[in-house]
């Protein structure tokens, strides 16, 4: 056990390195998150692989969305918006970390496993794109600021509806993450709704760009309401939420925001599944690879590096 003495705090790097008896892994957390709920037993009658896969799905949605939003850092139109987008990204990253830790603890199912003892960092940095189980909405290029706020509005409305229902999950980790995330997502949705309103009901130029941003996001909405076999099995077990049930609540939000913002509901075909398989099966758009390259390349170039 590390024994603290006065000299620790005199050297900031020593203090950091001694925080948990060892150095921190340079590109991740490198420490045991120590979350009390993580090692909760698998609820009775629930398939362990299914639960791990479901945790990965919800984690990957948040992780990839967070990485996309982080791309606005240093590039947002105003400092306040940069801070807001980074804050939203940080909340999503926090949600992802606990879910990845839970998936790793359960032992992510093949073919999504990297090694026998995957922690959150291994799952984030060393899985290839086909092993990511996020919906394709979160991986697409965010375009301009208008498209980004349209994307946040859809994503936050859907995830809020999903996680609010998940607070009643029989899995204590999912219930705990959801209970925390609901408050955060409410802020994200409010932020996006207010910008969609402001830009949509603004100048002719802002209106046109807001409508175009909504059109660009629209083909990826339908997948949000498509249930995967893992989800269906876990719904029956009282663990997961049926995404087909979320459509009404998300559409009610859009029906509230779009007319107020003088925007027209897009009429665009959904991006189809490939042979019945989509993001939840690891079948992604070409946009995911570059996002993961930015997120993973440094950790892969210097595996096990500490500071």
């Amino acid at each position: 056990m590390h024994s603290h003495d006065e000299t620790d705090d005199e050297n900031v790097y020593d203090a950091l390195a001694s925080a948990d008896d060892d150095g921190r892994w340079a590109f991740g957390t490198g420490f045991d998150a120590g979350t009390a709920e993580i090692d909760a037993p698998v609820p009775e009658g629930v398939d362990r692989d299914d639960l791990a896969t479901y945790c990965l799905m919800l984690a990957d949605d948040a992780l990839v969305a967070s990485q996309r939003l982080a791309g606005w850092t240093t590039k947002a139109p105003e400092l306040e918006e940069e801070v807001a987008l980074a804050n939203i990204a940080l909340d999503l990253l926090g949600q992802a970390r606990v879910l990845l830790a839970r998936a790793g603890h359960l032992g992510a199912a093949e073919p999504f496993r990297v090694g026998p003892q995957d922690d959150e960092d291994v799952l984030a940095y060393f899985r290839d794109d086909r092993a990511f189980r996020n919906v394709t909405l979160v991986e697409i290029d965010l375009g301009d600021f208008a498209q980004t706020v349209a994307w946040i509005l859809v994503l936050a409305s859907w995830r809020l509806a999903l996680l609010q229902r998940l607070t009643g999950s029989r899995d204590p980790v999912l219930a705990a993450v959801a209970g925390k995330a609901v408050k955060e997502l409410t802020y994200h949705r409010d932020y996006a709704a207010q910008w969609v309103l402001r830009l949509g009901d603004g100048t002719p130029l802002s209106h046109a760009r807001m409508q175009a941003g909504l059109e660009a996001v629209w083909p990826f909405v339908e997948e949000l309401f498509t249930a995967h076999a893992v989800e269906r099995r876990l719904v029956d077990a009282g663990v997961a939420v049926d995404p087909t049930e979320l459509r009404g609540e998300v559409e009610a939000v859009l029906d509230q925001v779009l007319p107020a913002a003088t925007l027209t509901r897009p009429d665009r075909a959904a991006v189809g599944l490939v042979g019945g398989r989509g993001g939840r099966d690891g079948v992604h758009t070409e946009a995911l690879g570059p996002v993961l390259a930015v997120m993973q390349s440094l950790a892969r170039a210097h595996p096990e590096a500490t500071w």
Binding site: M1, H2, S3, H4, D8, D9, A15, A19, T29, F31, A33, G34, T35, A36, E37, E80, V83, A84, A86, N87, I88, L90, D91, L92, L93, G94, Q95, R97, V98, L160, A161, Q164, P172, A175, A176, V177, G179, K180, A181, V182, K183, E184, T186, Y187, R189, D190, Y191, A193, Q194, L197, E249, A252, V253, Q256, V257, A260
Partner: protein
């Protein structure tokens, strides 16, 4: 009287200050969920984060471990729990006073919230009255819902012109 080098573990843990809002102790902030001493002398401290991605959590863990080590406890285990989720209602009255004294507007108390039904969307900024911590005027405006830390929003006082942070209600 038994003399002991050990300060009470709870007192030591409760005196640790928040890394981002150092006018508050972790006890004032309401993130300290429990301090227990096990039979083998291990002190188990349970923390809850304010936000899922709170970047200060690891610093809190480090500061708690140091404070307890200094107080004579060699074995310290700091755990994190997400349930029940933290709410600004957990900030103590003392904590609210300290925030205001430091120029940060404290959050309103939200009280119990409805347990079911969709979360309503408010399209216009809520007309919450937040008094300026500098001059006390209530004529203030929100400049950004998201501030320099996850817990705060940015506001400006229209009366004295000063910008200030507000611990936003969750």
């Amino acid at each position: 009287m038994v003399t002991s080098a050990l300060t009470d573990a709870r007192t030591a843990a409760e005196s640790v200050v928040d890394p981002e809002m150092p006018m508050l102790t972790l006890a004032d902030l309401g993130v300290l969920r429990g301090v227990e001493t096990g039979a083998d002398g291990t002190v188990v401290v349970t923390l809850t984060p304010t936000y899922s991605g709170c970047p200060a959590l690891d610093e809190m863990r480090h500061d708690l471990r140091c404070a307890l080590t200094d107080a004579g406890y060699d074995k310290v285990d700091v755990r994190t729990t997400f349930s029940p989720p933290w709410s600004t209602d957990w900030i103590s009255d003392d904590g609210r006073r300290k925030l205001a004294e430091a120029g940060v507007a404290p959050p309103d108390r939200l009280g119990p919230r409805p347990a079911s039904g969709p979360v309503p969307l408010t399209l216009h900024a809520p007309s919450r009255v937040v008094a300026c911590p500098q001059c006390g005027a209530v004529d203030t405006e929100e400049t950004s819902r998201f501030g320099p830390t996850a817990c705060t929003a940015l506001r400006r006082c229209r009366s004295c012109g000063e910008p200030f942070e507000h611990v936003k209600e969750i």
